[in-house]
Amino acid sequence: MDITFLIAAIIAVLATVRVITCYNIMHALLYLVVSLLAVAVVLYTYGAPFMAILEIIIYAGAIMVLIIFFVMMLNLGLETAEHEKAWLRPRIWIVPGLFCLVLLGELLFLILQNRQPAAGIQVVSPKQVGMAMFGPYLIAVELVGILLMAGIVGAYHLGRQQGKTLHRFLENNLDT
């Protein structure tokens, strides 16, 4: 366990804690981007540079930019942050947080106890990943393509507005 992994892991955990305790959603999104970048560094230290680049491009780039544009489109203001502060009272979060921490303790105990004797990290090259992906996993790749198409069609269908027939200028004229 080298020092780069340790630093990146601590940054990832702290940024994620900030995400789940933030009231303002834009600040939470920025902390989440930091957390994803730290996870990308962790992936790099585990001998998966291609996955680290994919994490940065797709997660921290595409998905986070999609969510940020979506939040900007909803035009939420300071009022939403106030709502959030009212919703996140300690009475609500203290019991589920406690239960989850107990579960985390059990998980840590089990992982630390059942230590693997095998030696360190083995680097898996992107070539191996590609050979596996378009060899034994070919059907799964096709299914992921179908899933992405279903996502596009579903997002279009759900996000479509019930069409306004009138321009808003004409609508205002009708009202008066």
Binding site: F5, A48, I67, V124
Partner: protein, 102 residues
């Protein structure tokens, strides 16, 4: 303190997953719940990559790419659903959507 790298990676993945789980449980803003699901998916992918580097097999990384594609599809559909919810109910409170009113 000498911890095996696989153990350390699985610990990090577990901690991130539990943080996402806590956030899903305690939040009522539906955008924050979506973000928490993203955190949990990311932690699962990290565990897959750590396992792949432990055994030196590419299967875990292939699974990580599938998780990435699934997260992208899930976010697009989830954001469209949130948009519909916001247009119909004028709020982001997930409790408001507990009754399906047609």
């Amino acid at each position: 303190m000498n911890i095996h790298p696989t153990t350390a990676g699985l610990l990090l993945a577990g901690i991130l997953f539990v943080l996402g789980l806590i956030s899903v449980l305690i939040r009522r803003n539906i955008i924050f719940m979506l973000l928490s699901v993203e955190i949990m998916l990311n932690a699962a992918g990290l565990a897959f990559v750590v396992a792949a580097s432990h055994w030196g097999q590419p299967d875990g990384q292939v699974m990580f790419m599938f998780i990435l594609a699934m997260a992208a599809a899930e976010v697009s559909v989830g954001l469209a659903l949130i948009l519909q919810l916001y247009h119909q109910l004028r709020t982001l409170d997930s409790d408001e959507a507990s009754r399906m009113r047609g």
